[in-house]
C-alpha cells in the first residue's frame, strides 16, 4: 500500500507555508507559493487518477482512502479523512483556483510574505474541509478557512475594507455559531439507542436521529452552511466583502469558500438529517428560488464590476442550493457541477476584474469603455467568462445549469416544477447583465485616452487566466467524465435521503 494520497493535500500547504516563512525576498516568496500550489495541483490530479484506478479495480466503498486516528478520546473525536467522487471534484476545483489565485496575486507588494501565508492557510483549510469525514474536524477546517479571510480583506483590501472585513467575518461567524449548535445537536443525538456518541459522518448516517431533533437542528445546520453559500437573505456579506477583498481573495472566496456552504448543506445538513430536509425543503426552495432571481435582478442595476459579480454569485450559488433541495440524483449532480463551474467562472471573473482594476484604477463600468481595443487578451477572456456565466454551450455553465434544470424538472411535484421554471428565468436576466457589462466595458469606442497606453496581460496573468479558461472549456466540452465522477456516489446518498 502506498501512502494515503489525501495526506499530501494537507502537508503540501503546510510545507509551503514553512517554505515561505523561511525565504527572504519577494520573488522567492512568490515562487515558493507557486511551486507549492503547483505541487498541490499535481497531487490533486494524482488523487483523481488513483481514485479512478481504485474504482475501476472494483472498490465500491462509498468513501475511499479512509484513514482514521483517534484525536480526542473523551468526545470520540477522530481525525478521519476519506473522499468520494464529489470531494475529489471539489478538491480539483480548489487546487485549480488556488493555483490561479497565486498567479493572480503576483503583484502584491505590501507584506507579501504574510499575504501568501494567509492565502495558503485559507486554501489548506478548504482542502482539509473537503477531505474530512468527521464533523468536528470539518468544523475545525471550516474555521481555519474563514478566519484568514478577515486579515486578508482587512489588511490587503481596498475601499471600506475594515467595514467589509468585519461584516463578512461577523456574518460568517454568526453562521458558524448556528452551525456549531446544529453540529452539537447532531452529535448528541448520534446514538439514540445509547452507546457511544460520535462525530463520524458515516457512522451518523447509519443511525436514525429522532424526527423532532432533526426538525430542530436542520434549520441551524442548513442556515449555518447556507450563510457561506449566500443563501438569501443572508447574502449581504458577499457584495461588500468581494468588493473590498484583494483579487486572489475574491477568487478563492467566491470560487471555493462559498462552495463549502453548498457542500456542507448537502453532506451534513441534508445527508444526516434527511427527514427534516424533506419536511422543510419547501421553505428553502422558496428562499433559494427568490435568491436566484433576486441576485440576477440585483446585478442589473449595479455599477461596480465586483458588485455585479457578487450579485451574480448570489444568483448562481442560489441555484446550487436550489438544486440540492430538489433531492434527486440529476439535480444534485447539477448542483455539484454548478459549484465547480461557478467556482472556476467566478474566480476567472474576479481575476480579470482585478487585472482590469490594476490598469484603469476604477471598477465603475460607466467610467470605462472600449477596452477590447487596448487589452484584447484580457477582454477576450472576459467575454469568454461572461459567455460561460450566461450558459454558452461548450463552456461549463451550460452543462451545470442544464443538469440542474432538467433534474429539478423531473420532480413529480408541481410546486417544484413551477419553482424550476422561475429559476430558469434567471438565464435571461443573466444574459442582460453580462452583455451590459461586456457592451459597456469592453466594446464601443475608447472613452479615455489614457487607456491607449495600457499594456495587455503579462505572463503570470496569462497563466492564471488560461488555467481557468482551460478548465472551464474542458468541463464544458467533455462533461461526461466529471458528471459520472459526481454522479457515482450520489445514487447511494440520494437513496439515503428518500425515506
Amino acid at each position: 500500500m502506498i501512502m494515503n494520497p489525501l495526506l499530501p493535500l494537507l502537508f503540501v500547504p503546510f510545507l509551503t507555508i514553512v517554505g515561505i516563512a523561511l525565504v527572504k525576498d519577494i520573488s522567492s516568496v512568490r515562487w515558493v507559493s507557486a511551486v507549492g500550489m503547483g505541487t498541490q495541483l499535481i497531487f490533486a490530479f494524482i488523487l483523481l487518477y488513483l481514485f479512478y484506478k481504485e474504482r475501476n479495480a472494483g472498490n465500491t466503498d462509498s468513501m475511499l482512502f479512509v484513514s482514521s486516528t483517534m484525536w480526542y478520546e473523551s468526545f470520540n473525536i477522530h481525525l478521519k479523512f476519506g473522499v468520494d467522487g464529489i470531494s475529489v471534484a471539489m478538491i480539483l476545483l480548489t487546487a485549480i483556483v488556488t493555483f490561479a489565485g497565486i498567479f493572480a496575486s503576483w503583484q502584491v507588494e505590501y507584506l507579501t510574505k504574510e499575504f501568501f501565508i494567509s492565502l495558503i492557510i485559507l486554501a489548506g483549510g478548504v482542502f482539509g474541509f473537503f477531505i474530512s469525514l468527521d464533523l468536528f474536524t470539518m468544523f475545525l477546517f471550516y474555521e481555519l478557512a474563514v478566519i484568514p479571510m478577515y486579515l486578508l480583506i482587512g489588511i490587503w483590501g481596498s475601499g471600506p475594507k475594515e467595514y467589509s472585513a468585519m461584516k463578512l467575518t461577523l456574518m460568517l461567524m454568526g453562521g458558524s455559531a448556528l452551525l456549531l449548535v446544529g453540529m452539537l445537536g447532531i452529535y448528541f443525538n448520534s446514538a439514540p439507542d445509547g452507546g457511544q456518541l460520535t462525530f463520524d459522518l458515516t457512522e451518523i448516517a447509519k443511525v436514525h436521529i429522532p424526527y423532532a431533533a432533526q426538525m430542530f437542528f436542520f434549520p441551524f445546520t442548513f442556515i449555518g452552511f447556507g450563510v457561506l453559500g449566500a443563501l438569501f437573505p443572508f447574502h449581504t456579506w458577499s457584495p461588500d466583502g468581494h468588493a473590498s477583498a484583494p483579487t486572489a481573495v475574491s477568487m478563492l472566496h467566491a470560487g471555493v469558500l462559498m462552495k463549502l456552504g453548498g457542500y456542507g448543506c448537502f453532506r451534513v445538513a441534508m445527508y444526516l438529517l434527511p427527514e427534516a430536509a424533506h419536511s422543510l425543503a419547501w421553505i428553502f426552495i422558496i428562499l433559494t428560488g427568490i435568491g436566484v432571481v433576486y441576485g440576477a435582478f440585483g446585478a442589473i442595476w449595479q455599477k461596480d464590476l465586483k458588485y455585479i459579480n457578487a450579485y451574480s454569485s448570489v444568483s448562481h450559488c442560489g441555484l446550487v442550493l436550489f438544486a440540492l433541495l430538489m433531492m434527486n440524483e440529476t439535480a444534485t449532480t447539477g448542483a455539484i457541477l454548478q459549484m465547480i463551474s461557478h467556482g472556476l467562472m467566478t474566480a476567472l471573473f474576479f481575476a480579470l476584474i482585478g487585472m482590469i482594476y490594476g490598469r484603469t484604477h476604477t471598477r465603475m463600468i460607466n467610467e470605462m469603455g472600449g477596452l477590447m481595443k487596448v487589452i484584447p487578451f484580457l477582454s477576450v477572456v472576459y467575454v469568454i467568462a461572461g459567455l460561460a456565466s450566461l450558459g454558452l454551450p461548450g463552456l461549463s455553465g451550460f452543462v451545470a445549469e442544464m443538469t440542474i434544470f432538467v433534474g429539478s424538472f423531473q420532480h413529480t411535484d408541481t410546486f417544484h416544477r413551477v419553482a424550476t421554471i422561475v429559476a430558469c428565468s434567471s438565464i435571461v436576466i443573466t444574459a442582460v447583465y453580462i452583455l451590459r457589462v461586456v457592451g459597456t466595458l469592453l466594446l464601443g469606442p475608447i472613452t479615455n485616452n489614457h487607456y491607449l497606453e495600457l499594456k495587455d496581460a503579462q505572463w503570470f496573468e496569462k497563466i492564471s487566466t488560461v488555467t481557468l479558461v482551460t478548465s472551464i472549456a474542458i468541463i464544458g466540452l467533455t462533461p461526461f467524465w466529471i458528471s459520472t465522477l459526481i454522479h457515482e456516489p450520489l445514487a447511494q446518498m440520494i437513496q439515503h435521503l428518500i425515506p
Binding site: P233, F297, I300, W301, T403, I427, A431, L435, I446
Partner: protein
C-alpha cells in the same frame, strides 16, 4: 451505406475556428480568409456528396432517417441523455446543402467585401464558428443537442452582429439580438423540459415516432384549457419564433443589420433565421397529431408577421432594413405553410411547400443581401436616398439583383414562383382568410422589392463623391452563382424528397391560384415602377395622403418603443432598481441595524467600566442587595 464520414462536416469548421481564432494574429490575414474558404469548400463538397448518396440510395418508398454518428455527451437520467450525433433525413440533408452553399458563397464574397478590415481573420473565425453551430443544429439527433447548438448559433450571431465593436449601435444591436432570442430560448428550454418530462426522451426519432410517447400516449394534464403537450409545443415554438423573428419577437432582426452585410446574408437571411421553421418542421408530427391548436397559432402568427413586415418594408429607407423586413415577411410565409399543413399524403403539402420556400428563399435572399452589400460597398451608404442610377455603373450587380427581385416577387419561371405558389395552394385549402392575407402580401412584396430596385438602380443619381464601380470578381462570382441557383432551384423535384412522412408527394399545378398571384405581383411591380422609376413627387404625395399609416409603418408600429418601455421602465426601473435598493437598504439595513444595536448597547455598558471606584462599590453593593432580595423573597 456508411455515412460516418459526415462527422467531418462538423469537425472541419470547429477546427477552422480554433485554428483561425488562436493563430489569427500570427498568420497573414488573407491566408486566414483563404484557409476558411478552402475549408468550407471541402465541407460543401462533403455535404453535396452526402446529399447525393442519401437521395439516390434512399429506398424508393420512403427516406429513412439515419443516425450516422452518435456519442453520449452528458447523461441526466437513464433515459434523458444528451447525445452528440448526426441525424440524416431528407430535412437535415436539405439543410446541409443550403447552409454550406450559402456559407461558401458568403465566404468567397467576404474575401472581397471585408478586404482591409482590421478584424479580417476574426471575422473568418466567427464565420467558421457560425457554420459549425448551424450545421450542428440541423443534424441534431435530439432536441437537447439542438438547443445546445441553438445557443451557440445565438452567440455566433451576437459576435458577428457586434463585429464592428467600436460602433455603439452595433454593440447595442448585438446585445438586443442576443437578449431577445435568449428570452425566446427560455420558452424553448421550458418547452423541452415539459416535453421531456412527459415523454421521458430527448430523441427526435422517438419523439416524432407516430407510435411514440409524445404522440401515441395521451397526456391528460391540462393547464388553462390547453394540454401539457400544447403548452410544451407552444413554448418550443416561442423559441423558434425568437430565432425566426416572428412578431412580436422580431425587433432584433432589423437592428441586426448593423453587422457586416455578408453576415446579414448568411445568418439573418438564409440560415439562422429559418431555424425556427426548421424546428417546427423537425417536430412537425407532434404538432400535427398532439397539438393542432398550436399549429393554428403558428399559422396566424406567421400570417400576421408576413403582412406586418411587408407593410413596414414599404416605408424603410435603409436598404438592408427593407431586406430584413422582407426576410421577416418571407419567414412568415414558411410558418403559415407549416401552420396550415397536415401530416402525410396530400395534407402534407404545406410542410413540403414551407421547406421548399425555405430552400429557394435561402438562395434569393442571400443574393439580395450580397447584391445590397455590393451596392453599399460601392456607395458607402445604406440609405436608398444616397443611391440611384447605379445600373450603368454596376451591370453584374444590377442584373443579379433584378433576378432576385423577380424571384421574390414570384414571377414564373423563377424559383420563388414555385415555392410561393405551393404555399398559397396549401393555405387556400386550409383557411381562406390566411390565403387572402398571403395573396395580398405577395403583391406588397413585389411592390417594396421593386421600390428598392428602382430606387437603387434607376431613378436619378445623386452626386457621388467618386464614381461607383463594379465590385471585384470575388464578390460578383458568388452573385452570379446565386442568381443561377435562384433561377434553377425552383425546378428541383422537391416534393419527391422532403415531405412530412418521407414519402414522395405528387403535386398538381393550380392555375386558379397561380394566375392571381402572378397578377398581383405584376400590379405591385407596376405601381413601384410608376412611383419610383423616375424621380417624381408621387411617392411624397402618396405618403402624405396616408400620413398616419405611413408614420406608423415608418416607425415600425412603435414596437421597439414598447419594448424599450418594458425593459427600461418596467424591468430596470420597477424591478431591478428596487431590488438593488431593497438589498442595500432593507436586507443590508437590517443587518447593519443588528450591528448598530449591538454597538449601541455595548456603548451603554462600556460606560459602566468608568474606572470610578465609587461606582464599582455601588454596583457591588446593589448587586449584593439585589441577590439578597432575590434569594430571600423571590424564589
Amino acid at each position: 451505406m456508411d455515412y460516418s464520414y459526415t462527422i467531418l462536416i462538423l469537425l472541419t469548421p470547429v477546427i477552422l475556428f480554433l485554428l483561425i481564432g488562436l493563430l489569427g494574429d500570427k498568420i497573414d490575414k488573407m491566408h486566414a480568409g483563404l484557409l476558411g474558404t478552402t475549408g468550407l469548400f471541402a465541407i460543401t463538397m462533403l455535404s453535396y456528396s452526402t446529399a447525393f448518396s442519401y437521395f439516390s440510395h434512399g429506398t424508393v418508398e420512403s427516406f429513412q432517417s439515419i443516425e450516422a454518428f452518435q456519442i453520449v455527451w452528458l447523461q441526466f437520467t437513464d433515459n434523458l441523455i444528451i447525445h452528440l450525433g448526426i441525424l440524416l433525413d431528407p430535412l437535415s440533408v436539405m439543410m446541409l446543402v443550403v447552409i454550406t452553399t450559402v456559407s461558401l458563397m458568403v465566404h468567397i464574397y467576404s474575401l472581397g467585401y471585408m478586404k482591409g478590415e482590421p478584424g479580417f481573420s476574426r471575422y473568418f473565425a466567427f464565420l467558421s464558428l457560425f457554420t459549425f453551430s448551424m450545421l450542428g443544429l440541423v443534424v441534431a439527433t435530439n432536441i437537447f443537442q439542438m438547443y445546445l447548438f441553438w445557443e451557440l448559433v445565438g452567440v455566433s450571431s451576437y459576435l458577428l452582429i457586434g463585429f464592428y465593436y467600436e460602433r455603439p449601435s452595433a454593440v447595442a444591436a448585438a446585445k438586443k439580438a442576443f437578449i431577445v432570442t435568449r428570452f425566446a430560448d427560455l420558452g424553448f428550454l421550458i418547452g423541452i423540459l415539459l416535453l421531456s418530462f412527459y415523454t421521458n426522451t430527448f430523441d427526435f426519432n422517438t419523439l416524432t415516432d407516430v407510435n411514440g410517447p409524445a404522440i401515441a400516449q395521451p397526456i391528460t394534464n391540462v393547464f388553462m384549457g390547453l394540454s401539457a403537450t400544447t403548452w410544451a409545443m407552444l413554448l418550443i415554438f416561442m423559441g423558434g419564433a425568437g430565432k425566426s423573428a416572428m412578431f412580436p419577437l422580431h425587433i432584433w432582426l432589423p437592428d441586426a443589420m448593423e453587422g457586416p452585410t455578408p453576415v446579414s446574408a448568411l445568418i439573418h437571411a438564409a440560415t439562422m433565421v429559418v431555424a425556427g421553421v426548421y424546428l417546427v418542421a423537425r417536430l412537425f408530427p407532434i404538432y400535427s397529431f398532439s397539438s393542432p391548436d398550436s399549429l393554428e397559432v403558428i399559422a396566424y402568427v406567421g400570417s400576421f408577421t408576413s403582412l406586418f413586415a411587408a407593410v413596414v418594408a414599404c416605408t424603410q429607407l435603409d436598404i438592408k432594413r427593407v431586406l430584413a423586413f422582407s426576410t421577416l415577411s418571407q419567414i412568415g410565409y414558411m410558418m403559415v405553410a407549416l401552420g396550415v399543413s397536415g401530416y402525410g399524403g396530400e395534407a402534407g403539402l404545406g410542410y413540403m411547400a414551407s421547406l421548399f420556400h425555405l430552400f429557394t428563399h435561402a438562395f434569393f435572399k442571400a443574393l439580395l443581401f450580397l447584391g445590397a452589400g455590393s451596392v453599399i460597398h460601392a456607395v458607402h451608404s445604406n440609405l436608398m436616398t444616397d443611391m440611384g442610377g447605379l445600373k450603368k455603373y454596376m451591370p453584374i450587380t444590377h442584373i443579379t439583383f433584378l433576378i432576385a427581385c423577380l424571384t421574390i416577387a414570384g414571377i414564373p419561371p423563377l424559383s420563388g414562383f414555385f415555392s410561393k405558389d405551393e404555399i398559397l395552394v396549401a393555405a387556400f385549402e386550409h383557411n381562406k382568410i390566411i390565403f387572402g392575407v398571403q395573396w395580398m402580401v405577395a403583391g406588397i412584396t413585389a411592390f417594396y422589392m421593386f421600390r428598392l430596385y428602382f430606387n437603387i438602380f434607376w431613378n436619378n443619381s445623386p452626386a457621388y463623391h467618386h464614381t461607383p464601380h463594379e465590385s471585384p470578381a470575388t464578390m460578383t462570382v458568388p452573385l452570379v452563382i446565386l442568381a443561377m441557383l435562384s433561377i434553377s432551384s425552383g425546378f428541383v423535384p422537391f416534393h419527391e424528397f422532403v415531405t412530412s412522412d418521407g414519402l414522395p408527394l405528387t403535386t398538381e399545378f393550380h392555375w386558379m391560384i397561380a394566375i392571381p398571384s402572378v397578377l398581383v405581383a405584376m400590379v405591385g411591380i407596376g405601381v413601384a415602377a410608376v412611383l419610383y422609376r423616375n424621380k417624381n413627387s408621387r411617392p411624397e404625395s402618396l405618403a402624405l395622403g396616408m400620413k398616419s399609416l405611413y408614420t406608423l409603418a415608418y416607425h415600425k408600429f412603435y414596437i421597439d418603443e414598447v419594448y424599450l418601455f418594458i425593459t427600461h421602465k418596467i424591468i430596470f426601473g420597477l424591478i431591478s432598481r428596487p431590488v438593488a435598493w431593497f438589498d442595500r437598504h432593507i436586507v443590508d439595513g437590517i443587518l447593519n441595524l443588528i450591528g448598530n444595536t449591538t454597538v449601541f448597547f455595548s456603548g451603554s455598558i462600556k460606560k459602566m467600566q468608568s474606572g470610578e471606584v465609587q461606582w464599582y462599590i455601588w454596583y457591588f453593593t446593589s448587586g449584593v442587595l439585589l441577590l439578597t432580595l432575590m434569594i430571600l423573597y423571590f424564589n
